[in-house]
Amino acid sequence: MRGPPLLRRGARAGLGLLLPLVLAVGWEIAVATGAASGRLLPPPSRIGATLWDLAASGDLRMHVEATLIRVGLGFLCGAAAGILAGALVATIPALRWLIDPSLQALRAVPSLAWVPLFILWFGILETPKVLLIAVGVFFPVYVAVSGAIASVDRKLVEVGRIFRLSRLALARRILLPAVLPATLVGLRTGLGLGFLFVVAAELMGASEGLGYLLVDGQQFSKPDQIMAAIIAFALAGKLADMALIALTLPLTRWQDTARESL
């Protein structure tokens, strides 16, 4: 893996951190000197302390776990359904004409609009939460997979025909690797949306999870807890994204653009 020299890369990353650091330190000083009250926006030190307390008591771990399990389950269901539906719709024209218009119409519905219906149908326990996340994950994956299969280079398929690959071998040796990059992009988008929707899902009633920390912080006027939950969300989302990339990087090593775009 060739890249710019380490020093220059480090310098660039440092430059990116400069702005948030200056703002944080500035706010810290402003609150410490009494120039600002810090009641609605607590200084970094208090947010850090709250985060530390949550972590020390084991609460943070419980909340993060609850959220990750919901996102994980929803992501698995949504991604599996998206891949399956995308593959079927792209390869069977009759199915495409039959269900693609309906799916595109459903896609146009803002997914949060399902919340009241899901609550009516499934109550407020885990099912509607996971389902809502799955719905959010499904569409980007579906669109990516069906689009990728439809745009597989016919010329490469012909190479497979020349070597008389069976339908199964053609799918495994040509279609699958050809659609992999776009599918992974869809999965990443889906995972991002999964984190978006888990907040909505946990806002609709939960006794644990990072979203619960948000609601709780709002109801009991604890902005430091809200900030702590937001930071935990950011970290969890970023780590999940990095894990997905790390897991799939070996599959896209051949791609010129993979390293830059991922």
Binding site: R161, I162, W254
Partner: protein
Amino acid sequence: MSVGQGRAKRAEPRPASRSGTHATLGQGTPVLLVDDLSKTYADGTRALDGIGLSVQQGEIVALIGGSGCGKTTLLRLIAGLDQASRGVVQVDGAAIREPHPRVGVVFQEPRLLPWLDVAGNVGFGLAGLTRAERRARVAHALERIGLSEHGGRWPRELSGGQQQRVAIARAFVAQPRVLLLDEPFSALDAFTRKGLHEQLLDLWAESKPTIVIVTHDVGEAVTLADRVVVMRPRPGRLDETVAIGLSRPRDPVAATYEEAVRRVLAALDRSLRPAAASRPPAPETRAAWW
């Protein structure tokens, strides 16, 4: 087989079997036999009409002609990638209706699979071999095309000429009886092309497959082929056949080479000239003209 046969047969009445339009060497059982092959597209466009061609074991035939005369269409029919409207293609007596294990193809573009490294691409079509056999064959082919060092590289890291060499190796490694090449060097510069001609002939000399190569480059046709078959357009037909009759390796500055080039150019010229004057204006009147 003489140069004049093609021209002479144009004046002959059309034989009932329509097999008299063969461009053939005339002796032995052909490895590749094309008889009365026609292709009409759904919109009524006639791409090929009554093509007859027979090619002997180890012979190299170049199909030459301007764009739109059906060269690529003919090659795709022989490869079994498309279906003919009429007529047959046979390889060793077996009719070709779909891609056949004995027929290899090199396309105009390299068409390498970007997710496989060079060695993986070369060995892509090898089935039913042990791992060791596969590796040996791929290594041998890579060595023959001068890319031994590059087996682990990605296709995108290769130059256009190197990519096309990999594509040629991929076709040869499957040991085809008939190898079809569709303007494989047309996107390359003259120097690269010359090197590839030599490597192609090198590989060919090993197993002597029958080769049909489509080209629009007269020099390329004369360098590679035993026979150059001129095609004419709308609908695509075979016109004259020019036997090159030079030993290999061929010296492009030799007088005999120059002479062969002139003969092909003359045949090409004839195929273009009478098209407007003596060709029938519409298909309906063709029968009367024949």
